[in-house]
């Protein structure tokens, strides 16, 4: 049974009372895949905004993530891990993007690109600014744990690092955020 077939009947990654996937097995096609991915797009975009440093890169990162996920969808053996799988792709791509951009682009960490809707809450702006001052892997760990809600074990799995390293990133990241956000 392929992952996308399993998705129809397990679907434990969906929120309470929701069903992201068509119930008719015969209709689980590209549209079904699209719906499954689209449901996770907001969390991917929110995480991407924490991972990279401008709006265009964040959107391109999500796009690339979805592109790869579409291409490799048959590799997902356990559909209940869809969200983690997507985030693993996205984190890897974010770190890869950062490496590629390292020479040419020098972001000012104080610059904040806003979303397309007006007036993001002040806490969002403060958080984005603070996050962008974190080292990339600490930033990724914080975003995955606190934004996405992944447990430490899953963050470690997604980032391909040990749990202890993950905890170290989270501890250091949180301490740095406390300084940046003025919670002393």
């Amino acid at each position: 049974m392929l992952a996308w077939e399993i998705l129809q009947v397990t679907n434990t990654d969906a929120g309470p009372g929701t069903s992201a996937f068509p119930q008719n097995p015969a209709r689980l096609d590209a549209a079904g895949l699209g719906a499954a991915l689209e449901r996770h797009t907001p969390i991917l975009l929110a995480a991407a905004r924490a991972l990279v440093r401008n709006e265009a890169d964040a959107r391109d990162l999500v796009q690339t993530t979805l592109e790869i996920a579409t291409r490799r969808s048959t590799e997902l053996r356990d559909p209940t891990t869809l969200r983690s799988w997507l985030l693993a792709i996205q984190v890897r791509e974010a770190l890869r993007l950062r490496r590629r951009l390292a020479w040419f682009v020098h972001f000012d960490p104080a610059v904040v690109d806003l979303g397309v809707t007006p007036g993001p809450e002040p806490d969002i702006i403060a958080l984005r600014t603070a996050l962008r001052r974190l080292p990339p892997r600490a930033r990724a760990a914080v975003a995955l744990h606190y934004l996405v809600g992944l447990p430490v074990t899953e963050v470690a799995r997604v980032m391909a690092i040990s749990e202890n390293t993950t905890k170290g990133h989270l501890k250091a990241g949180l301490a740095r955020l406390r300084e940046e956000l003025g919670n002393e």
Partner: protein
């Protein structure tokens, strides 16, 4: 955790919740776009759109791929993969008007040519072939735009790079040179095989004539290009760039992979993982073994989607064991090394990890359980033994 941590954590969670609401709202008003140019709405079948985009990209790189694919097919027949994977070039001793297939260059015919330790000839057409560090120095010492030769290792990436289109050096100058701001995309130059493949703003392929592919090359280049005047306020930047004109030599038997060849790797993988035979990577099978190949390597990938325990998903060949060590410095060779955390390459799914198994100049990309079992270890050892048996 103290109260300050609790307070920070609560604030971070609240801000992230707001961030998620913001993302949902933004996506409602503005569906995803690609590079701010191409609308891409997910609902209703991304597979079709993806196919269209694949075709679009494929059309742009078709010329390069055609050479690579055709030459790659010949590679398998003559078992001299690196050499044959390149466009036809002259041998170092040939006259300018002679064009010889690189596969025709025998060791005896090339053994008398003075070479650097990595096999790149020291001279071309009677002119010295510089190494990369010397070429970089020419940016300041050269007095004119006279061409010279430099021996390097190229990496040419295939596939997509949505977030990073070419950009003019000076956006306000309409005819400014276009460069790609992403690190080493799609062209990368390394001083040594297996080293870091970068351009770093020091070189440009903007005026490249002909095709180039991954592997060794002697490049005809120059600095102080008079077209630097097109670069507007970035004229000085363009003037100091090494301009790659063409590749005049792209390897021979001396720079073919050693000790193991492409044929060796395919045979070994086929012996222990016959359900996923390996083939040379091209546009049609890209992505079957992950999305980031080992730069500078000849890439093999399994023709089928493989996500089972004890499966060879791909293999990468460097010209030498030393080059492989440079490319994967943290991975210990052999089956035992493949069991170590440092050999983890990519997260597969909940059950499997993609790992490296390095044997001399070959790096197999394999799928085994996240916590490898005794059977996994035995299978890794059998793959290593199968490759060793081809010596």
């Amino acid at each position: 955790m103290n109260s300050h941590d609790d307070q920070t954590e609560a604030r971070v969670r609240a801000a992230f919740a707001a961030e998620l609401r913001q993302a949902e709202s933004d996506l409602e008003l503005s569906p995803l776009k690609v590079s701010s140019r191409k609308s891409y709405r997910l609902a209703g079948g991304p597979e079709l759109r993806r196919s269209n985009r694949v075709l679009g990209v494929a059309a742009r790189i078709a010329a390069v791929l055609a050479v690579v694919i055709l030459a790659s097919a010949a590679t398998l027949m003559v078992a001299r993969p690196w050499n044959s994977a390149m466009p036809e070039t002259q041998s170092p001793s040939a006259s300018a008007s002679e064009i010889a297939s690189p596969s025709a260059a025998t060791p005896s015919a090339t053994s008398s040519i003075p070479r650097y330790s990595d096999g790149i000839p020291k001279a071309w057409q009677g002119q010295p072939v510089l190494r990369w560090a010397d070429a970089l120095a020419m940016r300041t010492t050269a007095k004119d735009d006279a061409p010279f030769y430099v021996g390097v290792w190229l990496n040419v990436e295939l596939g997509f790079n949505f977030g990073c289109p070419n950009e003019p050096v000076d956006p306000s100058a309409p005819n400014s040179w276009a460069v790609n701001p992403c690190y080493g995309w799609p062209y990368g130059i390394s001083a040594d095989a297996g080293g870091p493949y970068e351009l770093g703003g020091e070189a440009t392929f903007h005026f490249l004539q002909g095709d180039v592919s991954t592997g060794p090359a002697i490049l005809r280049v120059h600095v102080h290009d008079p077209r630097a005047t097109l670069c507007g306020n970035q004229k000085a930047v363009c003037d100091s760039m090494i301009v790659v004109e063409s590749a005049v030599w792209t390897g021979d038997s001396y720079t073919d992979p050693k000790p193991f060849t492409v044929a060796d790797a395919i045979a070994a993988a086929g012996a222990v993982s016959p359900q996923t035979p390996l083939e040379l990577l091209d546009a049609s099978n890209r992505g079957d073994d992950g999305d980031e190949i080992l730069p500078g390597a000849i890439a093999l990938t399994c023709g089928a989607i493989a996500n089972s325990d004890m499966t060879v998903r791909g293999a990468y060949l460097m010209p030498s064991s030393e080059a492989m060590t440079r490319a994967l410095p943290d991975v210990q060779p052999g089956a035992d090394g493949a069991m170590l955390p440092s050999a983890k390459r990519d997260w597969g799914d909940a059950s499997f990890w993609n790992r490296w198994l390095v044997v001399d100049n070959v790096a197999f990309s394999v799928y085994v359980r996240e916590e490898p079992s005794a059977a996994d270890k035995a299978w890794l050892a059998s793959l290593e033994a199968a490759l060793e048996a081809t010596r």
